[in-house]
């Protein structure tokens, strides 16, 4: 991949946008299925925040990559290999414990990223981030509350949280990978190299897990590839469902 200055900023922004969109769609899949009405509403509200954040980021990507693509083009007309979201966000919802753990891991990462992006040299990104910081603070609070309740809850809920953590933890390594794109973006002041967000993320997550009587899994497996468009199996199915209407009926409106 050859990248100019604008190229690095565009890819960097697209990665964050794809993280938001894919996580948003996963959470939207909980609609009408969550364990309580309050959480049905909470998960879909969080999904809506993420969708809004994705829209802002796609609009900015389109300016940076100069392709003139619309938000819908990015969301509905790219194939799996063109998505550069991390693998963690595309993992299936599983049970409520799995979604809770995924939310804790993702929202803590995103909050650290947004906080750092508020000082981006890219004014549009800084503006999107300023808004997203407050929204994502609520997302992290929600995930934290449920992690504490379920981790330090019944034997059954504790066991499910442990299983979820064991499944998802390996995917967190990818969040902090540094490469040519992120290094260039960092040098330009567009955004932080994700590597630099790890101490804060790790500090918060391990503290909450500790309070929830959960143990951080030891894992040497570090699946990766999402940022290069190489995804896990569930992602293709998710995209097919998400894109089918738009592709089958181009230009369709409500």
């Amino acid at each position: 991949m050859t990248l100019g200055v604008a190229g690095a900023a565009a890819v960097y922004t697209l990665r964050a946008a794809d993280d938001c969109l894919v996580l948003s769609h996963r959470l939207a899949q909980w609609s009408s299925w969550a364990p309580t009405l309050e959480d049905d509403i909470a998960l879909t509200n969080i999904a809506l925040d993420l969708l809004g954040q994705a829209r802002g980021l796609y609009a900015r990507t389109a300016e940076l990559d100069a392709t003139g693509r619309s938000e819908d083009d990015y969301a509905f007309l790219r194939d799996e290999r063109e998505f550069v979201n991390c693998l963690l966000v595309e993992q299936e919802n599983g049970d409520f414990a799995t979604t809770t753990v995924r939310q804790l891991l993702c929202s803590t990462f995103q909050l650290a990223l947004w906080q750092s992006l508020t000082t981006s040299t890219d004014e549009q990104l800084a503006a999107i981030a300023a808004k997203a910081v407050t929204e994502t603070t609520y997302h992290r609070d929600h995930a934290t509350d449920w992690t504490l309740r379920l981790g330090d809850g019944t034997a059954e809920s504790h066991e499910r949280m442990e299983a979820a953590l064991a499944t998802l933890w390996p995917y967190t390594a990818e969040l902090f990978e540094s490469d040519a794109v992120s290094q260039e973006a960092s040098i330009l002041g567009v955004g932080p190299d994700p590597e630099s967000l790890h101490p804060e993320w790790h500090g918060y997550v391990t503290r909450v897990l500790g309070d929830a009587t959960l143990v951080v899994p030891q894992s040497t497996w570090k699946p990766s590839g999402g940022r290069q468009g190489l995804h896990t199996e569930p992602f293709g199915y998710m995209l097919a469902e998400m894109q089918h209407l738009h592709r089958s009926f181009p230009g369709v409106t409500w």
């Binding site: 509403i41 909470a42 809506l48 802002g56 800084a126 503006a127 300023a130 808004k131 603070t137 929600h142």
Partner: protein, 158 residues
């Protein structure tokens, strides 16, 4: 009143689609109105939340309103900077929210834990607690009053 003030006051009076007791001027959603020599009108609006689904409706409402004022050539832009926070809400808006049954956002919010109580909009008690972080719209949480038992929405600080 000059043309800009007229447009601003007409557009500003448009009710928020999700909280019709409040206008978009009350909420601080209407940011700026400009008019150039050729009579082209530019209106800036800002979302309260990134994914606020009401924003598209508000944009259409503003376009229609400005055309009804006799300006056929209008562009409504969404501006993100500076980011909207609940501090942009007017005092009048806070009073209207309360009368509408929604506890207004507390002031002085800067991401530090808030220690000021949220008052029950029905009985003014300070003994209220949160039932759910997320409510019927993105901007609202659900609380309950221990004094009168009322369950009420609270416009979240953000």
């Amino acid at each position: 009143m000059n043309a800009i003030d007229e447009i601003r006051s007409a557009a500003g009076a448009i009710p928020d689609p999700e909280m019709p007791a409040l206008t978009i001027a009350d909420l601080g959603i209407l940011r700026d109105v400009r008019i150039d020599a050729s009579g082209h009108v530019d209106v800036d609006i800002t979302p309260t939340y990134s994914g606020c689904p009401a924003l598209d409706t508000i944009r259409e409402d503003v376009e229609r309103c400005v055309r009804d004022q006799g300006y056929a050539d209008v562009t409504v832009r969404t501006v993100l900077s500076p980011a909207w926070t609940t501090e942009w809400m007017s005092e009048a808006a806070r009073v209207k929210l309360r009368e509408y049954g929604i506890a207004p956002p507390r002031q002085g919010f800067d991401l530090k834990p808030l220690t000021i109580a949220v008052l029950c909009p029905r009985c003014d008690s300070t003994r209220t607690h949160e039932l759910a972080h997320f409510g019927s719209t993105q901007c609202q949480a659900v609380r309950q009053c221990a004094a009168c038992g009322e369950t009420f929405p609270h416009f979240k600080e953000h």
